[in-house]
């Protein structure tokens, strides 16, 4: 049974895992790249070892070095966090081969869920619904596709086998228009990818992204911790998550049915530890398996806030061979939790990443507010890693209370030195569709813009004008003062007390 854990990650999730380890009395080992010497995970860990240069492939992706450092430091378990090596079956296997516990699923489960076709086939055998389509059936001719189309149902999508990014994709509303659209799709696919093969997939209309948190122990117990709604995305990046889902809402029957399917999907690969089953759901309440994330998720805190379960501690207990703390009937969703991902990016400039030194932070606090962050005043945000710098999570007795609490928390949050997407979240909180829970996975990209969201709001241009003018005024005045002061005193350093020098 292990008692010293190496955390093979950085940023907020490394800090999150360190905290769980510390509360369980485990010794901790951090690893860090050149850019991360001053990172919070290095400061919080009991031990910290240099891994390599800043680019991930030379540091956080060097599984060989990480395992060597674990062995050198006497760590006997590795927690991979999310991203980096978390879903690499070969890394999980290498840990086991080196005699280290891997705090996550078995390598075979990672591999099975990592290959989309294998995953689809595996869960289908277990009776889990997948988005109906012909993807797994190889290259079909037009007559074959036309014969299969009615079984899938309309509307459906023609998709290029080789492609992505919408090239070679066509939406089909009825069989009559299909031959022409097939022709157009194949021609575009051929032009774009040099491969004219296409397949059919049911179009899930007004799709919502709903996922279930799974926990499974070595004794074979598998439970779910209810769902999370993650439909608010931009460029396939989740921006805001909540639990429960406003779509599932008070439909406890649907929740339990989806949860049972999620448990079955996990059991289909003999799953162990924490994982997430992602579904697409349509307006009618049909839901389809999308994929399984065989690791801890960024958005796990919303589930923690409504269930009271500390998922990371439970991961560690499971990896130590303990039985789950909870049975399915112990799990109840209490109240409502929302998470906003705070990214270092400029919402007013096409969401371009923003780098720089953070000079000041005033995080929101108070009742029902949790902030998970990997940054602090003085820390430098580098261009090497993802732009997530903080997660703001709130809890309320109801969704309405949680939304209002998120609003006040976003308004309170001060972070100086890099741009953040906080204004984006503020506008989202004001949106009527968000407040009503009426959104799907296309909402942010197709029906929400920061500029138009600002139009309807109470604006204060006169206040902005006053503040800008006062800053400009003071800048001019100060500049003059600096010149004058300098003329008087050419030996500033003499005025530094010993203490001030010490603090430099």
């Amino acid at each position: 049974m292990f008692s010293k854990v190496l955390i093979a990650n950085r940023g907020e999730i490394a800090v999150r895992i360190l905290r769980a380890c510390r509360e369980l009395g485990m010794q901790t080992v951090a690893v860090y790249s050149e850019a991360d010497r001053q990172a919070l995970h290095v400061r919080y860990a009991d031990e910290a070892y240099y891994l390599g240069p800043s680019p991930s492939r030379e540091s956080y992706l060097r599984g060989d070095k990480i395992i060597a450092l674990a062995l050198k430091s006497g760590a006997n378990a590795i927690h991979p966090g999310y991203g980096f090596l978390a879903e690499r079956a070969d890394f999980a296997q290498a840990c086991l081969d080196a005699g280290l516990a891997f705090i996550g699923p078995k390598p075979s489960s990672i591999a099975a869920m990592g290959d989309k076709a294998v995953a689809r086939a595996t869960v289908t055998r277990a009776g889990v619904p997948v988005v109906p389509g012909t993807e797994g059936e190889g290259a079909l001719r037009d007559d074959e596709l036309l014969a299969l189309a009615p079984k899938i149902g309309f509307p459906l999508l023609i998709k290029a086998t080789a492609g992505g990014g919408g090239k070679g994709m066509r939406e089909v509303l009825a069989i009559e228009e299909m031959p022409g659209l097939l022709h157009a799709a194949r021609r575009e696919a051929e032009a774009s990818f040099g491969d004219g093969n296409v397949y059919l997939e049911k179009l899930v209309e007004a799709a919502r992204h709903i996922e279930f948190q799974i926990l499974a122990d070595v004794q074979g117990n598998v439970i779910h911790l209810g769902e999370r709604e993650c439909s608010l995305q931009r460029r396939h990046q989740k921006l805001l998550e909540e639990s429960p889902s406003p779509f599932v809402g008070e439909n406890e029957e649907l929740r339990q049915r989806m949860g049972a399917v999620a448990v079955r999907a996990a059991q289909a690969v003999g799953y162990l530890n924490a994982g997430t089953i992602e579904f697409l759901a349509d307006k009618e309440g049909n839901f389809y398996f999308l994929e399984m994330n065989t690791r801890l998720q960024v958005e796990h805190p919303v589930t923690e806030m409504v269930t009271g379960v500390d998922i990371v501690k439970e991961q560690i207990r499971i990896a130590r061979g303990r039985q789950l703390h909870y049975a399915q009937e112990d799990i109840h969703l209490n109240g409502w939790a929302i998470e906003c991902r705070i990214n270092a990016e400029d919402p007013y400039n096409n969401f371009l990443p923003s780098t720089g030194r953070i000079t000041h932070i005033l995080p929101p606090t108070g009742p029902g507010v949790r902030v998970d962050a990997g940054v602090y005043p003085g820390f430098e945000i580098s261009p090497y890693y993802d732009s997530l710098i903080s997660k703001l999570i709130v809890w309320g007795e109801t969704r309405a209370e949680a939304v209002l609490r998120m609003r006040r928390s976003l308004e309170e949050y001060r972070l100086v030195g890099v741009h953040t997407n906080i204004p984006f979240h503020q506008r989202l909180m004001d949106s009527h569709r968000f407040m009503g829970g009426q959104f799907d996975t296309r909402f942010v990209e197709e029906r929400f813009s920061l500029e138009s969201a600002e139009e309807g709001r109470e604006a204060h241009p006169e206040i902005a004008a006053i503040m800008a003018t006062l800053v400009a005024h003071e800048t001019t005045q100060r500049a003059a003062q600096i010149v004058r002061r300098n003329e008087r005193d050419t030996s500033n350093w003499k005025w530094l007390s010993r203490w001030e020098r010490l603090q430099r």
Binding site: R235, Q237, A344, E345, Y348, N349, N350, L352, P353, S354, T355, T359, H360, P383, Y384, Y385, D386, S387, L410, E411, R414, V416, I422, P423, Q426, R427, E454, R457, A459, H460, P461, E462, I463, A464, A465, I466, M467, A468, T469, L470, V471, A472, H473
Partner: protein, 165 residues
């Protein structure tokens, strides 16, 4: 000191008087204005109403982020305003545009070449940073000139990548 401050083409005349008072378009207000912790975050009490905003120096004036909304402000004193009016007024509309890297990163694609005609909004360079692919677009139509990067290049922040003339 009297200033003319423009936000979204709306002009405000702001005169700063002594002892914490100012005139906004002729109306007097009690004003108490302080930086928080020496940061570009400012607390304003205006006739007792409390406001707080970030105020940054941007390329084209001051950026004020107030209650989650961004305002672009240009502040001129009377002399500057008169000079600009005398010079025929108005910002120069044409001229060369130099595309600079907004952050350090790796060039992953350059879908244009020297001499390409581009329209406003066309993608000029795709730059990878923070694990995201970021499309840098043309702010206006024109012709691509002095292309200095190609896919695979690492670039520094503010490095000029190409120009649109």
């Amino acid at each position: 000191m009297k200033y003319i401050t423009t936000i979204d083409e709306r002009e405000f005349t702001i005169e700063i008087l002594e002892e914490g008072r100012l005139l906004l378009d002729g109306e007097e207000y009690a004003v108490d204005f302080e930086s928080v912790d020496g940061q570009p975050v400012f607390s304003l009490l205006l006739n007792g109403r409390s406001y707080e905003a970030y105020v940054y120096q941007g390329d084209e004036g001051l950026q004020v982020l107030l209650h989650g909304a961004l305002y672009l402000a240009t502040v001129e004193d009377e002399r500057e305003k008169r000079l600009r009016a005398a010079a025929g007024g108005g910002v120069v509309e044409k001229g060369e545009f130099h595309l600079k890297a907004p952050m350090p990163g790796l060039v992953v694609a350059v879908p244009v070449s020297e001499g390409s005609q581009v329209a406003k909004g066309d993608v000029l360079v795709v730059l990878e940073s923070m694990k995201m692919q970021n499309e840098l677009k043309a702010p206006r139509e024109g012709t691509v000139a002095r292309l200095r990067v190609r896919p695979g290049d690492s670039v520094e922040q503010k490095q000029t990548l190409l120009s649109v003339v």
